[in-house]
């Protein structure tokens, strides 16, 4: 495909990428500046950094003739300049105004690059002038609340499909491609010699060929890994939003919150980093809203008035673990039990472990919030968050200790592009099941299957394991043949297990995940496809979706570990 050298759309995309980074930097700097407001002493380095970010945005916007953006950035830049040279003292008001200005700037950029409506800014300009004038004269410190509804910025935007890659990583790729070419040349050479019969030592050539093949295998594996690394970005891009979000949320809820962030440098697949923001946001909101108590309540409990939220990311083997923890009141298990009873999710008098009760939080429609808060009560429940994470092949679990706090743990694969999979055959077609969702595979006698109204199940490890017949689930037809036993793959996701009946175990293999065309639309239970060594296609199953479909089936009970028959 050929592209014009100065493709405006491309430039706009770069501008958006660049300004996204700069806007985050602005947030970070403003947050650093905020505690200094009391002393009116601005740290010149931070102010300079803010100035530079605004200046760069102004310049790039000017080049793209986004005049609204450059004019607005210029206005903010002037204010920073006044702060920088001491004409304008730092104040709480000023910081507030700058935060607001930063949000408006974001809106202007969106208007310029995506054709969204330009935001109204007259009121802001007035307030800005007022603060500048008043403070330049008097240094007044009176608190003025700038009531600005700050949208978190999630309105149906199109994400730029670009990535910044460290040159060093590209150099590794280039080296590997070089090796690949050398090996290819060697193989071509050997093959020519063999075909022409130009050798006295065919056995030696064949040995050389197998050496070259081994080299090829190693180089391509390295290449695969290097490409995967090139796709990885730091989770910092997501984490950096949270100081600002938590600050704003805490203010509006009248709470005091200290946010600690660890492991920002953790690398993760670009796709995952792009998609994980929303679910994380929801969990953090949940901590602010339902986790952390009011300062008054905290003092009564003998805690520090300021609550703590910790956001942490770390590599753990082949996955990345992201944790969001608070030191708030924890989940009230009694209320969870009451609500579970009311919704008919658990039986009266039944014994449930803490873990089982916590699982109820992920049932659609389950919410224990007494007052539906404006922040978390947007009709998005924990089930949606878990499903969003499931789509990224991740898992979400929650742990809670009464009075001490709640911790959400998200476990994500390093990459979505390559995964270990178990290949099985269902109704004649090959399917790949991600290995991290397979807990075991079994061969049983047909008589061991217990039939009931709620579907088939089998006793396994002292528990009733519900069964899905693969061919039936996917409406593929065919008559199952159980004469040689029933083959079952035990799928595990979100603390639940389900047995999938398949026709044949084919083996396990590393697969490269390819998306199914959007033209076919999303298919419930199918996560994508992969191309096997012989060119044939296997569809990749999505165990979390399959399991949740079983949950929604008639008469099934959602609590993990205790499958009751009705």
């Amino acid at each position: 495909m050929s592209e014009e050298p100065f493709d405006r759309a491309e430039l706009i995309r770069y501008f958006k990428d660049e300004s996204d980074e700069l806007l985050q930097q602005l947030d970070a700097d403003l947050l650093k500046l905020e505690p200094l407001a009391a002393s009116s002493q601005a740290d010149p380095e931070i102010v300079n950094s803010i100035f530079r970010s605004l200046h760069t945005i102004k310049g790039s916007a000017g080049m793209l003739e986004l005049h609204d953006v450059s004019t607005f950035a210029h206005r903010l830049e002037n204010v920073c300049d006044s702060v920088r040279n001491g004409r304008l003292p730092l104040s709480g008001n000023l910081i507030e105004i700058l935060f607001e200005g930063r949000d408006l700037l974001t809106a202007f950029i969106r208007a310029g690059t995506e054709g969204a409506q330009a935001p109204p800014s007259a009121g802001f300009t007035e307030r800005l002038e007022a603060v500048v004038q008043r403070h330049t004269r008097t240094g007044d410190e009176e608190a003025q609340h700038v009531a600005a509804e700050r949208a978190g910025g999630s309105a149906g935007k199109v994400r730029p499909r670009t990535i910044r890659v460290d040159i060093a990583r590209l150099d590794v790729l280039l080296d590997l491609v070089g090796e690949l070419v050398i090996t290819k040349n060697r193989i071509v050479q050997i093959s020519t010699m063999l075909t022409r019969g130009e050798t006295a030592d065919p056995a030696g050539l064949i040995a050389e060929l197998s050496t070259a093949a081994a080299l090829l295998a190693r180089t391509s594996a390295d290449l695969q890994e290097a490409v995967m690394h090139a796709r990885m970005v730091r989770i910092a891009g997501v984490f950096e939003r949270f100081p600002r979000v938590v600050r704003d949320l805490a203010k509006s809820r009248g709470k005091e919150i200290e946010l600690t962030i660890e492991g920002s440098e953790t690398d993760l697949d670009k796709t995952i980093v792009d998609e994980i923001g929303e679910p994380l946001m929801h969990l953090v909101r949940n901590c602010v809203d339902h986790g952390i108590e009011s300062p008054k309540r905290r003092r009564e409990c003998g805690k520090e008035p300021a609550g703590k939220i910790e956001l942490r990311a770390a590599h753990e083997g082949n996955s990345v673990v992201v944790q969001i923890g608070d030191d708030g009141s924890g989940v009230d298990l009694e209320r969870v039990r009451e609500r579970g009873l009311a919704l008919g999710l658990i039986a009266a008098g039944a014994q449930h472990s803490e873990r089982e009760l916590l699982e109820l939080l992920f049932v659609p429609g389950f919410s224990t919030a007494r007052s539906v808060s404006e922040l978390s009560g947007r009709g998005v429940g924990m089930d949606v968050v878990r499903r969003a994470i499931g789509r990224l092949s991740g898992t979400l679990e929650v742990a809670s200790r009464p009075g001490l706090g709640t911790t959400f743990t998200i476990r994500l694969p390093l990459t979505l592009a390559i995964l270990g999979a178990l290949l099985v055959r269902i109704a004649g077609e090959l399917y790949a099941i991600p290995l991290d969702a397979v807990s075991e595979s079994l061969r049983l006698d047909a008589e061991q299957i217990e039939r009931s109204e709620s579907g088939d199940a089998v006793m396994h490890r002292d528990r009733l394991l519900p069964l899905i017949r693969g061919a039936e689930f996917f409406e593929l037809g065919g008559v199952p043949d159980y004469s040689k036993g029933v083959l079952i793959v035990v799928l595990r996701a979100a603390n639940r297990e389900v047995g999938l009946i398949v026709d044949e175990f084919v083996g396990d293999q590393e697969i490269v995940v390819k998306p199914l065309s959007e033209l076919v639309g999303p298919i419930a239970g199918i996560a994508g496809g992969t191309i096997l060594g012989d060119g044939s296609i296997a569809l990749i199953l999505d165990p979390s979706v399959m399991i949740s479909e079983v949950d929604r089936g008639p008469g099934s009970i959602v609590v993990s570990g205790t499958m009751h028959q009705r």
Binding site: E429, F474, E475, L476, K514, P515, L516, S517, E518, L519, V520, G521, I523, A524, G525, I526, G529, I531, G535, S536, I537, A538, L539
Partner: protein, 156 residues
Amino acid sequence: MRTTSETLQVVVFALAGNEFGIDIVQVREIDRLMPITRVPRVPAHVEGIVNLRGQLVPIVDLRTRLGIPHTEPTKTARIIVAEIGPRSIGMIVDEVREVVRIPVDQIADSEGVLEGLANEFIGALGKVDERLIILLDVERVLGPEAPADLTDKGST
């Protein structure tokens, strides 16, 4: 970009005795039938997916899509791979005939002309000599709106 505004270059194919055409700029390639991997839970007209040099491309049975009774493909059957934006999609047709240029002034609105066909997919009618070619609106046949009928799985 179309280079000339006077004629439209069209790939002509046969389907149940009618001649259909697709704007050539939307055609990526034409292939013989190949093994198709079935995909569960898709509308009846989606036959499955194929591996086209490393890309998974969905294949649609154009007969079913247009409401023409499905028949087993014969030896002349081909897959026309069309491009809709960045996505490719293949459609099975009875036979690919030729590429013709249709003068733009020989293209007319199709409204009310055809019976028994899913009219919403017909873009226009073109006339070459005395032949009538039904110009398909590929985006409407295969485009993003198509998955909307994923829900009526029962109609198979």
